[in-house]
Amino acid sequence: MNLKRCIFIAILMLFVFSSISYSQVETPEYSNSKKWSTGLGFEYFKSTISWEDDSLVSPLKSYLMSFHINYEIIDGLNLGAIVGYASSDYESLIFSELPVSLELDKGAIGGFLFGGEVVFTFYRTDNFDVSVMGQYIYYKGGQKQWEIPGLAVDGTATGKPKWSRVILGGTFRFLATEPFYPYLSLAYSPLWGTFSMEESIQTLNRTEEKKISRKGNLLIGLGGIYEFSDSFSLILEADLVPYSGGDNYNGGVDFGAALRIMYSF
């Protein structure tokens, strides 16, 4: 049902865009001669991650706050750098290779994120443009410590997460509705990483690193750019990532939402 809904929405959006673009008679004024842009981004996404040879899944929820700086090196080709802070909340990760097995029930871990992006608009008409984009984000969480309850002695567990996310895809943007430009994107977007859990109980010291990866890799993005002025714009995007079920779990759709405020100069 979720997948059907996604397809329905995508088709509806395409229909809406094309129907509007077909009737468009005026030339859009969407153009920007400014080379630099900078801004702040906020993003939330929930990913269903699989681990232990795909036999188990658990949710990963992340909040990202990022600073962006972009530069248009040639017409249509933008390069950008991303730095920021992210909080990732892993749930229900079981570390069964440690001497005393541990289950991370819940726990958001803050950390830094770095990344870059490139956008190349290779086709443009008065009504729409089509671009390809790539983005890479690397999140490195800080250390988080827990006391291990129920032991005869003191014990601590230290968790260190990290993940990477890539988005590679294309965007179809409608330009005829100035100052609002809706777009639809379709991308290949894997997310993978590790969660390292170090256990320290007196003489017992071991570390288990668990590899995680997002179940779904296909990202469907729906968004819009609103230009407040020649310099300020607001970008809103909602993402859907469908994934298939496995032996022990059902399929579903993950989602995310992003907001970015940009200033061009």
Binding site: V16, K46, V100, S101, K106, G107, A152, P182
Partner: protein, 453 residues
Amino acid sequence: MRKKKLIFVGTILFILSMSMSFTDVTKDKRIRRIINPSRQDISSSKHSYHHRSNRHLYASGEVLVKFRPTLSDNEAEALIGVYQSRKIKKILGLNVYQIQIPENITVAEMVETLHRNPDVEFVEPNYIARITATPNDSLFQYQYALHNTGQSIGVPGSPSGTERADIKAPEGWEGTKGTGDTVIAILDTGVDLLHPDLQSKVVSGGRDFVNDDFDATDDHWHGTHVAGIAAAETNNTEGIAGVAWNCKILPVKVLDEDGQGYYSWIAEGIRWATDEGADVINMSFGGSSEASILAQALSYAKSAGVVCVASAGNDDDFVYYPAAYDEYCLAVAATDYDDLRPDWSNPGPEVDVAAPGTRIISCVPTWYWGPGSLPYGYAGGTSQAAPHVAGLAALIKDLKPWLRVDEIMDVIRYTAEDINSGSAPGFDNYIGYGRINMDTALVPIKLTASTRK
């Protein structure tokens, strides 16, 4: 013209974003809530319900909901219809509706959605309860050491135990019951190879160092009793349950019919069991003298990856050998059905942990009571405590074969329950780190927000 289009596109986007339900902004529109549940919370609930095993934790396709008393029956049923659901029945007396939910929504989603409705007092999945891994052995009810419900300890008139003064075996078996690949060598008076609760668990006729042959048949009763505690056949509808549910027994006779044995027999037995592939060696005996031959045999076993467990002794004296070889052996003291240390259990700094050792029911040789009697009996002592620990060591080794001997010994020590923390907090000479706890040792410990440092 452009403005109209902008309004149109904006409207479409608004509708779409609502249908994708990032948030439920309208508190009083119940239909919207049911159609557009918030996925971000729902999915996490779903996974946390399901991820730990393949077994279903609740009934699929239905939930239990109780509406606030302000709602009449008609209104409640109308509301159920609003959620595209159907009443299965109303549980009388509790005013709880069992409702069938639409196929296109998960139980977790429905719970999450209904939970936001102010007319709902509570809503939850129709959870499935199961007995824990409780074996069906007929005498399991008398095994307070494994699962203490506060039952009477033995025949009518016997004292009752304290609830949960046990090693938490059923909980631990949820983590693992072991496999037939892990072998516990019972160095003792031998094992009754034909005992109905041991026959299938014994890997071979063993080795008899007393009579120097390969028939480790028990001519006492002690070894059979110890073997039963460690690994009697479990869930076979008769007799007792062994701690190491599925693990095997290697009988090694190093004590004679009077329960005595030379250190040379014991050392040979340790070495033979090690070479035969034993994973754990249980030694429910002790001598007061230190001896190099014993230490070297134990060292050989440890270097080969064998976990050695021995009883501390029953004289309220110092810890006997081999248990006193701290580096190579887990020394086991005794506790009773109230989680108290009996005063005969030997204390000393070498004591690592304790386990129940008072009035322990287990196997005795089939000839022991004579015809017509069940081959089971009660016995007490650190001899009975040690095989509980040996059974746990076997389960840990089976579950985590990559752990070193030292690590397995430490897991058993550190996951123990400090049952005398009121009078002697932390490690002490009486029960060491505490009474062993199979739940903590075998089942993942939850790290929650409250345990965050």
